[in-house]
């Protein structure tokens, strides 16, 4: 029996969210007294055996060129074979873009109960109960999975990666690969930016900035901190910033270590997408702005005065 972790990669490299999934899965395996194993699909440029330091003992590698691009339907069938090979009773995904398209398919295929967006290890003292954020982060639900095989998709940034010692045995998984029904015709990646869903630090701004021409100081702060940029919905709606930066109840839900909100009022729908951030800093000129109630640190002041000063202070702290 095992806990089997799906390792998601992009361009031949393992994603950070997968290291979280590996840590989560191997900790769970210890908790259940079973072995921790993993599966990776497609060619890899990383040293897979070295992933043993996250606690996995064995990695099934479906090293097939046809698997270099994620197709949920094709991947589901390959992962199902790994589940059989490893006699897995729990399968772990990161609840990232790929996890969200593969885990539900696998759940339906194996009739294995799925909890997506888990934020903690399951409570296995009496049954198998997984905690996840619901109502866009306004509450948590404890969900019992009642099937023999279980699937958990772990919310990115909610489980800390722990690296120890160890190497994993890498075994090739020979599988027949179906032809994908979906043909990819173009991929446009914004290079050099930190993807928002995986970012530890996020600098976000709202309508208080008055117009897109004022984003220079926000981008500068993000660069200085190595942070991703985000925005409120009206900012994306008016095309001041691209849609993928929109966070909140109807945008992306994120849980970085640090969320800096500049000129954002803190409407309930905005908070819903960011209130699981570990530390929230609010810069707003209105002392009554609702965001201050959800904040850990705040400055009541004009962003056009405070943000440049913050950038100088960050430079000073970093010795730049």
């Amino acid at each position: 029996m095992s806990v089997l972790i799906y390792i998601d990669s992009a361009d031949g490299h393992v994603k950070k969210s997968s290291l979280e999934a590996l840590t989560y899965g191997s900790t769970l395996a210890t908790q259940l007294g079973v072995s921790a194993e993993a599966v990776i699909l497609g060619n890899s440029n990383d040293d897979l055996a070295a992933l043993g330091k996250y606690g996995v003992k064995k990695i099934y590698h479906a090293n097939n060129d046809l698997l270099n691009h994620v197709d949920a339907q094709v991947f589901t069938n390959v992962i199902a074979e790994a589940v059989t090979a490893s006699s897995a009773t729990v399968i772990i995904f990161s609840n990232n873009v790929n996890g969200k398209s593969i885990a539900p398919r696998l759940s339906a295929k194996l009739k294995a109960g799925l909890v997506s967006g888990a934020i903690a290890l399951p409570d296995t003292s009496n049954g198998f109960i997984v905690k996840k954020a619901v109502f866009s982060g306004k509450a948590f639900a404890n969900i019992s999975i009642t099937t023999p095989v279980k699937i958990i998709a772990v919310a990115p940034n909610s489980y800390k990666t722990i690296a120890g010692e160890g190497t994993a045995e890498v075994v090739l998984l020979n599988v027949t690969v179906d032809t994908p029904k979906i043909k990819i015709t173009a991929v446009n990646k914004v290079t050099g930016e930190v993807p928002l869903s995986e970012a530890d630090l996020v600098v976000s701004a709202g309508r208080g900035l008055k117009g897109p021409e004022n984003w220079g100081m926000i981008i500068e702060m993000a660069k200085l901190l190595g942070a991703a940029t985000a925005c409120s919905r009206p900012v994306a709606d008016t095309d001041w910033r691209p849609h993928h930066e929109h966070v909140g109840q109807t945008g992306l839900a994120i849980a970085p270590n640090l969320y800096i909100a500049i000129g954002i009022s803190g409407a309930i729908q905005h908070l819903a997408g960011v209130n699981r951030s570990k530390t929230i800093v609010v810069i707003n000129k209105d002392p009554e702005a609702p965001f201050f109630k959800a904040a850990d640190y705040g400055i009541i002041g004009d962003a056009f005065d405070v943000v440049p000063k913050m950038n100088e202070a960050i430079k000073k702290m970093k010795g730049l």
Partner: protein, 246 residues
């Protein structure tokens, strides 16, 4: 072409989130219900736009829910769509709901639209499950959708960017921002919706795979530590030394 749009009902985004029965049930008291925004703004409106270009397109709406969902489905019909099917069952288990939708969809649709996720249970699972149950390709997180003959051309979000793909119908697609712009139903639509068929069917027997055992509210924040705008360096020091986040 036949399109099935999956519609779910969620509490209004400003609804007070509270629980009853020893924290095992969502407190419906005073809650306004809306069409899940992703289903309404993006999935349904995009389907309506496609039909406006090609009036031969037939749009069916499907919801799995008790009679409480009827006002929501009527509102959806007021926006557009030819008829609605409600599967008469209340469940929060994604697999149960997906199985009911798959059963409805068996008669054959070229396109099944779902929202990216429900804003109450946040599963983002049902589209993928329906696709697997029907052995269809599934394009998740679509931001653009065009039809070109027997193919769909779809732009979808990937981490750090987007990809454009082509797929032959039938296909299941989950929809998010970018697909369409929010619309408000007009009087004509509201009147027309009253006479559009709303079929109620009984659910098929399906064993749920999960069950909610309890809810919790997040712990309250300790309160904000304010720093003067004349002492910005102090904020950076606190973030570095106290919060240890930078």
């Amino acid at each position: 072409m036949k399109i099935l749009v999956c519609i779910s009902k969620t509490p209004d985004t400003t609804a007070k989130i509270a629980f009853t029965d020893n924290n095992t049930k969502f407190d419906n008291n005073g809650v306004q219900w809306i069409i899940n925004p992703y289903d309404e703004w993006y999935a349904l409106v995009r389907a309506i736009e496609l039909k406006e270009k090609d009036p031969s397109i037939v749009i069916h709406l499907c919801t799995v829910g008790s009679a409480d969902a009827d006002p929501i489905i009527r509102k959806a019909l007021a926006l557009g769509g030819d008829e609605a099917i409600r599967v008469n069952a209340d469940s929060h288990d994604s697999f149960f709901i997906a199985s009911q939708i798959a059963e409805v969809a068996k008669i054959g649709y070229d396109l099944i639209f779902t929202g990216k996720e429900t804003i109450d249970y946040n599963g983002s699972s049902i589209g993928g499950m329906v696709a697997e149950l029907l052995n269809l390709p599934y394009v998740s997180l679509a931001t653009k959708f065009e039809q070109s003959g027997n193919k769909a051309i779809i732009t979808r979000e990937i981490e750090g960017g987007e990809e454009i793909c082509e797929v032959e119908f039938p296909v299941t697609v989950s929809c998010q921002k970018g697909m369409a712009e929010q619309r408000i139903p007009n009087m004509r639509g509201i009147m027309a919706a009253r006479t559009k068929p709303l079929k109620v069917v009984e659910p098929i027997a399906i064993e749920a795979l999960t069950a909610i055992t309890s809810f919790e509210l997040p712990p309250a924040k300790a309160g904000v530590k304010l720093v003067s705008p004349d002492n910005v360096e102090e904020l950076i020091r606190l973030l570095h030394e106290e919060a240890k986040v930078i």
